[in-house]
Symmetry: C2
Subunit: 166 residues, 2 copies
């Protein structure tokens, strides 16, 4: 039944997530994808429908493979400092970029991002036993630290001050 594939679909999605996590959506061209992903144009469109289709799949993979484990780990965070450390040491580049750049222009992306962040908030709230708004604040703070590349372990500095919160 037809020729066998020479590319691994999950591998392609993973590489796409890396590319999209590194620069803006419009900064990654289909040529870039074809070149770096080891998949042919035709196969890309046959498999994912469009550039946006591949982006959505890559985003969902990022959420499933990078954010979900973080949420699970947060479930057993003993205090705010630990939670902050967990988030700030996670690889959330694509989520961040999606939130700032794509969500305002793509409601489907916005929904995925909001759901993912809500899950993180919930995990923080449950683990620390703090109100929802404070949990959201902690998540936001961690994202802000990630945004700046967590210079000089800045996350740790805040974490120490937040310990009494737990």
């Amino acid at each position: 039944m037809g020729r066998t594939r020479t590319f691994d679909e999950d591998e392609v999605v993973r590489a796409a997530a890396t590319l999209f996590g590194g620069r803006a959506y419009d900064g990654v061209s289909v040529d870039d994808l074809v070149t770096h992903l080891g998949v042919h144009r035709n196969s890309l469109y046959k498999t994912f429908g469009s550039k946006r289709g591949l982006y959505l799949v890559a985003l969902r993979r990022h959420l499933a493979h990078d954010v979900r484990p973080l949420v699970d780990a947060l479930g057993s965070a003993p205090d705010a400092a630990s939670a902050l450390r967990l988030i700030t040491s996670a690889d959330l580049g694509l989520l961040l970029l999606a939130a700032v750049e794509r969500a305002p222009a793509d409601t489907e992306v916005a929904a995925e991002v909001a759901a993912a962040l809500d899950a993180v908030d919930q995990a923080v709230a449950d683990a620390l036993g703090v109100p929802a708004d404070l949990a959201a604040a902690l998540t936001s703070a961690a994202l802000g630290i990630l945004l700046r590349g967590n210079p000089h372990g800045v996350g740790t500095a805040l974490a120490h001050r937040l310990d009494p919160l737990g």
Copy 2:
């Protein structure tokens, strides 16, 4: 000596900053700029050299008109909660977008953004008398809250918990 301008240069730059603050750099076309700014293509290129030239001027205007006043106000912030409130209620859309989306691809943007954030960090550190890394953490936290649109006054929730810091 020549025809008089029919557009106000500062008005154009201000409108450009608004546009660039609302969506990604590549999401704002020159056509968009020409349409919304009341300046003609030719004048745009004559005045700013290129789309990127206009972007840089708009970014610098944003830093001078929106970030600088924030830094000044932070100078007399009595405690961490006040500082956080000041930052989270500022209009920093373009700075945020520039930091996440443009800085990785444009070293000049990266330099402007880094300098601006450093100035905020410094103001926070001076006003509160806290170490540099903690000040940077506070700035980062505020940026993270802005990133999520400060839902339900989340900034305030964190601010109350940070009061003992001041």
